[in-house]
């Protein structure tokens, strides 16, 4: 069973994000972490490998710093890592990014693709389903459980007000949701291996893509400008003993804000 895991190195959730003077670029504090949903995806891939043998390959698209995410994957137990590194790949929308990833995945035979439900930096949640469609494969989004046997997979998904069990023919893509598993912490031996591991690289030319198909030129949705969110006014603390404050809060919500 060959499993491909798509991962993304993202700014730490607490990193400072400032808007550049031109209004179309972002200045992001250089503090990074692997997207949290991707850790569930790697863990699930390693569990599938433990049960069914095969190999786990992690792929990321990004600049050199994204190697960190690949090394984390190897430290956890992945066998191979590929960095899709090309100026032409950067600043793409979901479509352009998914096109590049799907080309890279298609280079070698595979049975399962796993990725996070969404990246928590740009919050699009588009790339997983788009990769599946580019490859003409089914996908199941936001899985909580995955069982693989005989060329098929059975997955559990949380749906509004309940749970659904879905069966799908392999190869297929699954996006991981919190609750799927508990990602392992890499062992020191894994970390050592990751430091020495060779990271394969691929450029647009390697994937048979013209630069106009990837990154910003290949994007269907483009950022016109960035702006800061509207600032909330300072909090108004409601004074008094708990009971008085509670009664005053009700009055404010009903008579001033009129939200009740």
């Amino acid at each position: 069973m060959n499993v491909v895991v798509l991962v993304k190195q993202i700014p730490d959730p607490e990193a400072l994000v400032a808007i550049g003077g031109d209004g179309v670029s972002l200045d992001i504090e250089q503090k990074f972490a692997m997207n949290l949903f991707d850790e569930f995806a790697i863990e699930e891939a390693l569990r599938i490998k433990a049960k069914h043998a095969g190999k786990v390959k992690v792929i990321t698209l990004g600049s050199r710093k994204a190697i960190e995410a690949l090394r984390t994957g190897i430290a956890m137990g992945a066998d191979e890592a590929v960095l899709l590194e090309d100026e032409a790949f950067l600043a793409g929308d979901g479509y352009a990014t998914a096109l590049v990833l799907s080309r890279a995945i298609a280079k070698e035979p595979f049975d399962i693709i796993l990725c996070g439900r969404q990246a928590i930096d740009d919050d699009r949640g588009e790339v997983g389903p788009m990769v599946a469609q580019f490859l003409g494969l089914p996908h199941v989004g936001g899985i909580l459980k995955l069982d693989v046997a005989d060329g098929r997979a059975v997955a559990e998904v949380a749906v509004e007000g309940g749970k659904e069990t879905v069966e799908v023919q392999l190869p297929a893509l699954f996006t991981a949701q919190k609750g799927l598993n508990e990602p392992r912490v890499p062992l020191i031996t894994g970390v050592m291996r990751a430091m020495k591991a060779q990271i394969a690289r691929a450029t647009a030319a390697d994937l048979g893509l013209a630069t106009a198909q990837a990154g910003r030129p290949g994007s269907k949705v483009k950022v016109v400008q960035y702006s800061p969110p509207k600032k909330k006014p300072a909090v108004q603390i409601i004074p008094g003993a708990p009971r008085e404050a509670a009664i005053e809060a009700v009055r404010i919500l009903m008579d001033v804000e009129r939200v009740l």
């Binding site: 479509y95 297929a172 969110p229 603390i237």
Partner: protein, 325 residues
């Protein structure tokens, strides 16, 4: 005239509120004279749902196919992309529901276009139209435009209002998706319902949420009683879900749900960045915490520094009095 399709979903015996929000926006665009609009419904369409949709659109298209009996991303994507292609739509609007966010990216690939996901605003009058999407957990807003069509947009629930219904019912037509057997490789084999009929957090107007300050699972009854009094949905923080006090479905925040209610009341919540990212588009926030330095107060409109075990019951009692319950 450019055609707009609005993908409509049902909940219970009516259309989802977010679907009505987008139909209402669509009707405004129709009113400008440059657009026509159709509501599009996929799969089994109950009569009551149909009746209600027809009051918010000039035309409802029911896309049918045996493959649409149960939701699958593949089937829904093929059906909607097929209809959009057939009719030459310039824009597809949908609520940013779990389902729409799951299959519309596939529609975008099938139609070789892009998608603006989970937008919280739109500049319908600018040329080209632009859409506002929060990024980095709401710390930046990106204004985006399309260079391919149809423009596919999913909008966060409660970002737009529901307008007045039409005096006259719209027309109705069916469209057969014509999905060939074997094209859909996914099948739903079981569905378990646990909390059917409850208002989902993502669409809720009113939310009462609790954090670790509640000290024990059973104390969530204070949150539940307050919520029940005003018809609110209960939310929870990651700490509380990880401690198994509440179900994962109740989690608000980065690894849970993004909510945008009119009123968000949070009790015993410290305000970790992961939580704030999930609720910072709430219109009014009331925080209750006995720590005056709790970070949640930086994101609240109103705060009560006090013991939630006294404040919550007092609020519930006062609300019962005032609401006559």
């Amino acid at each position: 005239m450019d055609k707009i399709l609005v993908f409509v979903e049902a909940k219970g015996d009516g259309p989802r509120k977010v679907s009505l929000e987008l139909l209402s926006e669509g009707l405004k665009l129709v009113g400008s004279g440059q657009f026509s609009m159709e509501a599009v419904f996929l799969g089994k369409l109950p009569g009551t749902v149909k009746g209600k949709i027809l009051h918010y659109t000039e035309k409802l298209i029911h896309v049918t196919d045996p493959a649409l009996e149960n939701y699958t991303a593949e089937g829904y994507a093929m059906a909607l992309a097929g209809y959009a292609r057939e009719t030459g739509a310039k824009m597809i609007l949908a609520g940013a529901t779990q389902r729409a966010r799951d299959f519309l990216p596939r529609v975008a690939v099938l139609l070789q276009t892009g998608i603006a996901s989970d937008v919280t605003g739109a500049n319908w009058d600018s040329n080209p139209m632009t859409f506002i999407r929060p990024m980095y957990g709401g710390r930046v807003l990106a204004e985006v435009s399309f260079s391919a069509y149809p423009a596919i947009v999913t909008a966060r629930p409660n970002s737009f209002g529901v307008g007045a219904s039409l005096a006259q019912k719209g027309e109705f037509a069916e469209f057969q998706a014509g999905i060939s057997p074997g094209q859909v490789k996914t099948s739903v084999i079981k569905r378990e319902e646990t909390t059917l009929g409850k208002v989902d957090l993502t669409e809720a107007d009113l939310i009462v949420a609790g954090g670790r300050g509640l000290k024990a699972a059973e104390n969530f009854r204070l949150i539940e009683e307050l919520a029940r009094t005003i018809g609110a949905t209960v939310g929870a923080t990651r700490a509380v879900v990880d401690a198994k006090w509440r179900d994962q479905a109740d989690q608000v925040g980065k690894s849970g749900k993004t909510v945008s209610p009119k009123l968000y009341m949070g009790a015993g919540i410290s305000g970790a960045i992961h939580h704030i990212m999930g609720m910072d588009t709430a219109k009014v926030v009331l925080a209750i915490n006995n720590d005056p330095h709790a970070i949640i107060f930086n994101y609240a409109n109103y705060g009560i520094v006090g013991d939630l075990f006294e404040v919550l019951p007092a609020m519930t009692e006062e609300l019962r009095n005032r609401l006559g319950k």
